[in-house]
């Protein structure tokens, strides 16, 4: 039956036609439809999404990669799932915070419209609570780093005891989920310490001894900017407690393109230093990598390969193309692009 359908649809696949009729069906590429968008703070919002029937669920604390078309271009980013147990109809939610120059986060927070269909990946990530819930957990979050933790609270707070949450935000008004967190604290379901950087300065982990005197006895989850994560790792390591610490590294990295860089051909295990004027195609060939090629002038698209991470510059127009782990693969023409930073290619 399946073979007949495939033979009828060739050179397309049956799914290409079925997608027209029902893009959310089971077996389709996973998609979701934005149901509603609610502002959280001035620069963050919660998007509620109805995922396609292939959605396999998640463990609180995990993130989902979402692919959205902005100005016609598909962009992928990862966001923590923030919805709780009680969310009706299997809706899921994410709460992005708009970062300066963040194409996707700004679009999601300020521009996206309910009804928009987005691409989804299945939930992933190991920043989760263990099956046997920890006693006396400590959560330290900063900025949008609170998003995976709010997901945990909304699902597990009822079964957790003696929870301490230290949360940092630039100002009081920038605290995401402020009312909800304070509500939990008021109901004695957790102990909350808010650190408003504009008043108290950036949180120093040495002050933990005062804030949470028993922090050494607590299994700890930390999520926030790289600075906080690095500090936490060394702080816990110094105390000899590295195995009690869980961190979630959220890369909101904006790749800074430069001139030239190391190009790594992942499958060939070859790395070359390429200058900013040499097409990657030539750099690869000179290093003996078997490169697909064609016109060598940017018109035939015979040299297109997948870039996993990195930044390249179009030698004709100066246009920069960048991607990283979260943003996902981008296909580039190697004959007209030169390295503009360290690059990883799928070759």
């Amino acid at each position: 039956m399946r073979k007949v359908a495939e033979a009828l649809a060739t050179p397309l696949v049956p799914g290409d036609y079925l997608d027209l009729l029902d893009p959310m069906r089971a077996g389709a590429d996973l998609r979701g439809r934005i149901v509603s968008i609610t502002a959280e703070t001035a620069d963050s919002a919660t998007l509620t999404i109805r995922p396609g029937r292939g959605w396999a669920g998640h463990v609180p604390g995990q993130y989902v990669r979402i692919g959205i078309d902005i100005d016609g271009v598909r962009h992928w980013r990862a966001y923590s799932l923030t919805h709780g147990d009680g969310t009706p109809d299997d809706l899921i939610s994410i709460t992005p915070k708009a970062i300066p120059d963040g194409v996707v986060s700004n679009h999601l927070v300020h521009m996206a419209q309910p009804g928009t269909v987005v691409m989804l990946d299945q939930a992933a990530g190991d920043f989760t609570l263990p099956e046997v819930l920890p006693e006396r957990p400590l959560f330290i979050t900063a900025g949008s780093g609170v998003t995976p933790v709010i997901g945990m609270f909304r699902n597990h707070l009822g079964s957790l005891r003696d929870v301490v949450h230290v949360h940092c935000a630039p100002t009081e008004s920038a605290v995401m989920f402020r009312d909800e967190l304070r509500g939990y604290a008021a109901a004695s379901r957790l102990t909350l310490h808010e650190n408003h950087d504009n008043v108290a300065g950036i949180l120093s982990l040495t002050s933990l001894d005062e804030l949470v005197p028993d922090w050494r006895e607590r299994e700890t989850w930390v999520c926030g900017p790289t600075g906080l994560l690095d500090a936490a790792e060394s702080h816990w390591a110094t105390a000899g407690l590295a195995d009690q610490l869980h961190v979630e590294r959220f890369r909101t990295s904006v790749v800074e393109p430069g001139e030239g860089g190391t190009v790594t051909f992942d499958r060939a295990s070859v790395t070359v230093d390429a200058d900013g004027a040499t097409p990657i195609l030539d750099a690869g060939e000179a290093a003996g990598v078997l490169m697909p090629s064609g016109c060598r002038m940017g018109i035939c698209f015979g040299c297109v390969v997948t870039m996993r991470e990195g930044a390249v510059r179009d030698l004709r127009s100066g246009e920069i193309t960048t991607t990283d782990e979260n943003s996902g693969d981008v296909r580039i023409q190697t004959c007209v692009n030169a390295a503009a930073g360290p690059c990883h290619l799928d070759l």
């Binding site: 040499t278 297109v304 030698l315």
Partner: protein
């Protein structure tokens, strides 16, 4: 594929590939970076001669290298302006065309399930289904397939509408098409002996192509080629002709590669034919309306419509009168500006309605397409006036005409150039007779070399 013409590079026209430099392994070897990447050249470019080697006037002889560079900058700017402004409305356009085509195809195929039903002496579902399927196949091949495979929509980063992923409803596998079309034809456009699209190896469409006896019958080849166009494209992309001619001199590696490609083509043709000529007619049997045979004929006719239409459009792109051809030597060390110039002079447009443009895959804007093959096709109409103005300011002929006019001119050319050129001291008749005699004796006459 190895039967392809070699690549010309700025300093070493005999190089067949990049030679690793011994001095600095991180720098490309001299001559490997394509001179066509830049409008400006490191070395001064020569003034174009007044006449081509064939004795015909050189259409760009009045332009200095500086003027050509200027034209290049102007075209780069036009390109940049469009490419930077690509956005949601362009993406919506191609998605709408794809959606329309798929619904049209499904609707037409559904109608054909009842193509045997007779009403007042006609079979309405046959006519509707056949017409719809023909139009759907044309849209799929032209505005969608051809353009997606050019990478016009790669910028959307939609893995399904991407040059590396698209497979089209045509006998030729997309990988082979991309090689012979995107790479060879678009790089070496109208260069005699390099661009096999110039007459596809079976037609003499330029006076500078050498006449042989084979071309005497080219009106027949031409019409036959149009009728089975998808298969001749497949054979052409496979370089079947070249393989048969050079078979004995090819290395085992080349032969193995040919066999691999040939298998790919045969497998694709099998899949296509099974769908059109077996499965859909069989499906029609299930409606018990006697539609099996009529679904079969509908598929044959729809493919024929597509073949003749695509051939008609494509011959208008480079074969009408006043479109220029170029000699191999003229493209050595060619800059991007000179390449632009060749694209402008080597292509011709068709003017007409918006619907006509869409049905040609916007190849009616052949000049604009050849200048910017990776520009989304819906943008060609908007830049066309700028290109025309630029060409006219530089006293370059912007070739365009209505579809009937351009088609008629090509058909006439095919007839006219089937005869040998007039030479002093002999008659055309005598030339033909001499060639025929040589052919009978088995000496040449087969050659289709330029």
């Amino acid at each position: 594929m190895t039967l392809a013409p070699e690549r010309t590079t700025s300093t070493d026209s005999t190089a067949t590939g990049p030679l690793p430099s011994t001095e600095n392994p991180n720098m490309p070897a001299p001559g490997t970076v394509n001179s066509r990447l830049s409008v400006t050249s490191a070395e001064p470019r020569p003034q174009r001669p007044e006449f081509k080697k064939s004795g015909r006037p050189n259409p760009a002889a009045h332009l200095t290298p500086e003027q050509i560079e200027e034209i290049g900058h102007e075209l780069d700017a036009i390109r940049a302006e469009v490419m930077e402004s690509r956005g949601a409305s362009d993406a919506a356009y191609i998605r709408k065309v794809i959606k329309t085509q798929r619904y049209l195809e499904m609707g037409s195929r559904a109608a054909l399930l009842f193509s045997g039903v007779k009403y007042k002496g006609v079979r309405p579902f046959w006519w509707i289904g056949t017409a719809g399927l023909g139009v759907s196949k044309i849209l799929e091949n032209m505005e969608i397939g051809h353009n997606v495979m050019h990478g016009q929509w790669d910028w959307m980063r939609d893995p399904k509408i991407h040059s590396t992923a698209w497979e089209w409803d045509n006998a030729s596998p997309s990988s082979q098409w991309k090689h012979s079309h995107n790479e060879i034809h678009h790089t070496f456009t109208n260069v005699l002996g390099r661009d096999n699209d110039l007459g596809y190896g079976i037609l003499r469409v330029d006076e500078d192509q050498k006449w042989t006896l084979f071309y005497l019958f080219q009106p027949i080849w031409h019409v036959a080629n149009a009728a089975i166009f998808e298969y001749s494209i497949a054979a052409y992309d496979l370089e079947l002709g070249g393989y048969l001619a050079k078979r004995k001199r090819l290395s085992d590696e080349d032969k193995a590669e040919f066999r691999k490609n040939a298998q790919e083509v045969v497998a694709k043709i099998k899949r296509q034919a099974t769908r059109d000529y077996v499965l859909h007619p069989a499906l029609a049997a299930a409606t018990f309306t006697g539609s099996t045979r009529h679904t079969l004929t509908a598929n044959i006719v729809a493919n024929l419509i597509r073949n003749v239409w695509t051939n008609t459009v494509i011959i208008c792109g480079h074969f009408p009168p006043d479109i220029e051809t170029f000699e191999k030597t003229s493209i050595e060390g060619e800059t991007r500006g000179e390449w632009y110039l060749r694209q402008m002079l080597g292509s011709g447009n068709i003017h007409g309605s918006k619907a006509m443009h869409v049905m040609t895959g916007n190849l009616s804007h052949q000049i604009e397409h050849h200048l910017f093959p990776d520009m989304p096709s819906n943008r060609y109409a908007k830049i066309a006036p700028k290109i025309r103005d630029l060409m006219e300011r530089h006293d370059l002929h912007y070739v365009t005409g209505s579809l009937p006019k351009q088609v008629a001119s090509v058909y006439w050319k095919v007839v006219e150039l089937s005869l040998p050129p007039k030479r002093e001291g002999t008659t055309r008749r005598a030339t033909i007779l001499r060639a025929a005699k040589r052919a009978i004796k088995g000496k040449g006459g087969q050659g289709r070399r330029y």
